[in-house]
């Protein structure tokens, strides 16, 4: 709660602040940037202990994530669902709710999109793609709204319900794909649905001649639009104002005539919608079907992304790209520098750890005086 409420009431895209640059730095990117640097530094100690050269490790990490056009495209492929799931977590944070259920909402979105996409395989893309998209978003939104409704009407803690919802969807998904109505023969060696129709596929936006086997799909355009929508919704609509008001103080908001309970249901539906869109994009852009074990873990990394991005649109996008670069670069680090890719998981955990210890970072940032001046 403290993290959400300690965030400034205006986002970085809002009207320019009259505060000093140093204060802006401390309020804005200081904590995330220092957190990442501290985490990388501690990570380097781990690399040293394991008998490797940290500089080589990090060089391999960076080259792995951005070293070639293919690497960059793969990093972005991972960043797309991370960004969307990050928005899902962040919109709830902004309203004072913890959405731990982005993973479950993502999967429901994927299932809904996969079902629509495979049920009407002969429809033209102009119809099928929007239908698939709407199914994914609505699927995730409906699933998210359940947790919001339980919170608003029964006071059930949304952390508990969203965590439980993650489990429910994993097992329902397993049943649907293994023995249930969505099961279909496939070559994956794991339970999977039948493929979606050609019309439901998000096209690859980089030609094969340019970057062979690139998987970067039009979902990245949807992700960018979603980021803009997130900003517009929260800072340019009265609904967004109300949501943020509830996040800053539900009782005060109620005094001002905003019904926090209705906003809770709505915001969880919006959160679920963002996550559901992530699931839809994974189906339509990458795999063209749903399978058991689909896109595991994005919803959880998304919590870290939202925290690191301070629930701001640009912050979330950058944090998602950073975490995607960790994931992609870690693979190459293992291949090229023989350093276990689990190191990046250690670094990711350290980033979170340092963010959680925000006060420590603030102390470091504060004692340095004004870092903005120091760098000038």
């Amino acid at each position: 709660m403290t993290l959400a409420s300690s965030a400034p009431p205006t986002g970085p895209l809002a009207a320019p602040s009259v505060r000093q640059p140093s204060a802006q730095w401390a309020q804005g990117p200081a904590v995330p940037v220092i957190s990442v640097l501290v985490a990388l530094f501690i990570g380097a100690i781990f690399v040293l202990i394991s008998g490797h050269n940290p500089i080589r490790a990090y060089a391999a990490l960076i080259l792995g994530a951005f070293g070639s056009p293919y690497d960059i495209s793969e990093t972005l492929v991972i960043a797309v669902p991370l960004t969307l799931a990050g928005l899902s977590v962040a919109v709830a944070f902004r309203t004072g709710l913890f959405n731990i259920g982005a993973q479950g909402q993502l999967l429901v979105g994927a299932l809904a999109a996969g079902w629509t996409g495979s049920q009407f395989p002969d429809l033209p893309g102009i119809l099928l793609l929007p239908m698939t998209l709407v199914s994914g978003v609505l699927g995730g939104a409906a699933y998210g709204a359940i947790a919001g409704w339980l919170k608003a009407t029964r006071g059930v803690n949304e952390v508990i319900t969203t965590i439980m919802q993650n489990y429910i969807v994993v097992f329902v998904m397993h049943w649907l794909l293994q023995d249930g109505p969505m099961s279909a023969p496939n070559a994956l060696g794991t339970p999977a649905s039948s493929p979606i129709g050609a019309g439901a596929i998000l096209p690859i936006i980089i030609p094969n001649e340019l970057v062979p086997l690139s998987r970067l799909h039009a979902g990245i355009v949807l992700a960018v639009l979603a980021v803009v929508l997130f900003w517009f919704l929260l800072w340019r609509t009265s609904l967004g104002y109300e949501l943020r008001a509830v996040g800053l103080g539900a009782r005060a908001a109620a005094q001002a005539g905003i019904d926090p309970r209705r906003r809770m249901i709505l915001v969880m539906a919006i959160a679920g919608g963002f996550a559901g869109l992530a699931g839809m994009i994974q189906v339509s852009g990458l795999f063209h079907r749903v399978f058991d074990g689909f896109s595991s873990g994005f919803g959880f990394d998304a919590i870290a992304v939202a925290l690191l991005g301070k629930n701001s649109p640009i912050g979330i996008t950058l944090a998602a790209i950073l975490f995607a670069a960790f994931a992609r670069g870690g693979t190459l680090m293992q291949a090229n520098a023989s350093i276990s890719s689990h190191l990046v998981e250690v670094i990711e955990a350290l980033v979170l750890f340092v963010i959680a210890a925000e006060t420590i970072v603030r102390a470091i940032a504060g004692r340095r005086g004004t870092p903005a001046e120091a760098l000038a």
Binding site: I55, A59, Y70, A187, G189, L213, Q334, A337, S340, S341
Partner: protein, 342 residues
């Protein structure tokens, strides 16, 4: 401003030195890449064995090798592509979960050689399509099943230790070919060595869930089984646990599972994935690489049996050794179709 310049300078030095460090990796020797499935390097089974084979090959042939652990199913294609793009000479995928991914990547990189353990490239519809740059590494599991079957049958026939009911059992995960080959060889051996022994078989319909394996195991033991052969990966560990709980014997699979339950696991049916990897690297080095189906068997040391528990009598060991020789010479050809289904 001055500090910024200094920072930039430091970073540029770090970057250039690190690039040098990386370029030191590339040389003229062969480059071999291994991509694990989601089981990871510490699965004590296929992936771990494949990695052993990679390290052995690196040591013996002086080739450069790398490994990537796949964290998600969806990582298979990018991970295989990563090696192919860097012009590796051989890219090995572990496990039949990768058949479709290898097909995709191998078609895109016709000049890179691929190998896939326990599978053949399959198109998006799941149809096998052999490619000129993919070696399919298959095992004659029935031979391994036969070897442990000989040991089980001899012990059942002679009523050794706790094996007093002259009944032996097996449990598969899902009835797919590699699983059923093991069971077929096992049953073939029992029928040959000790026709009077009762044979039971079952499936847990799972490769992960230990509880399901244990359920089948307890059921088998209640039907007088006292030697239980598991062919179900993680689920099979539950089958072994049932044997341990009830004080009977079990037989491990794929890797040597003697350590899982000492005194319970009398031996293991071995599929030497490490040998398959090692030999395939060797074939590339010797320019003897063969695409399409490659079989690993007792003849090329790809199949065997694991450490024997002290309870296994000398005559059972002798019988297994004899079977090993006879299969090698072609005198015995273990069946690969399951005779006792239930």
């Amino acid at each position: 401003m001055k500090r910024l310049l200094v920072l930039a300078f430091i970073f540029s030095i770090l970057f250039t030195t690190s690039c040098d460090a990386l370029s030191g990796l590339t040389g003229s020797s062969l480059k071999i890449g291994l991509v694990t499935d989601v089981g990871g390097l510490n699965d004590k089974s296929f992936n771990a064995l494949a990695n052993t084979g990679r390290l052995d090959a690196a040591k013996d042939f002086g080739v450069q090798t790398s490994v990537i652990e796949s964290k998600k199913q969806e990582d298979y294609v990018p991970n295989l592509t990563t090696f192919a793009q860097q012009n590796y000479d051989l890219v090995i995928g572990v496990g039949f979960l990768m058949t479709n991914s290898v097909w995709k990547v191998a078609k895109q990189f016709p000049n890179v050689k691929f190998a896939i353990i326990d599978g053949a490239p399959a198109d998006d519809a799941g149809k096998t399509e052999n490619l000129p740059n993919v070696a399919n590494l298959f095992f004659k599991e029935q031979e391994a099943g036969y070897l442990v079957g000989v040991i089980a049958a001899t012990m059942a026939k002679d009523k050794v230790g706790k094996a007093t009911h002259n009944t032996v059992c097996s449990m598969g995960g899902i009835p797919i070919p590699p699983v059923d080959h093991y069971i077929a060889g096992y049953q073939d051996a029992v029928k040959t060595v000790s026709p009077s022994t009762t044979i039971l078989n079952g499936y847990s319909n799972d490769f992960v869930d230990q509880a399901k394996g244990k359920e089948v195991g307890l059921n088998h033991i209640s039907k007088n089984c006292d030697i239980l052969f598991q062919v179900a990966g993680g689920s099979g560990l539950g089958y072994i646990a049932a044997a341990k709980d009830k004080g009977v014997y079990a037989i491990g699979v794929d890797a040597d599972q003697a350590d899982v339950a000492p005194g319970v696991v009398i031996t293991s049916a071995l599929k030497r994935v490490n040998k398959a990897v090692y030999n395939t690297v060797k074939s590339v080095k010797d320019k003897a690489y063969k695409s399409g189906d490659n079989f690993f068997s007792i003849a090329n040391d790809g199949i065997g049996y694991g450490k024997l528990d002290p309870i296994v009598p000398a005559n059972a060991k002798a019988a297994a050794e004899q079977a090993l020789t006879d299969i090698k010479s072609g005198k015995i050809v273990p069946k690969d179709t399951v005779q006792v289904k239930g």
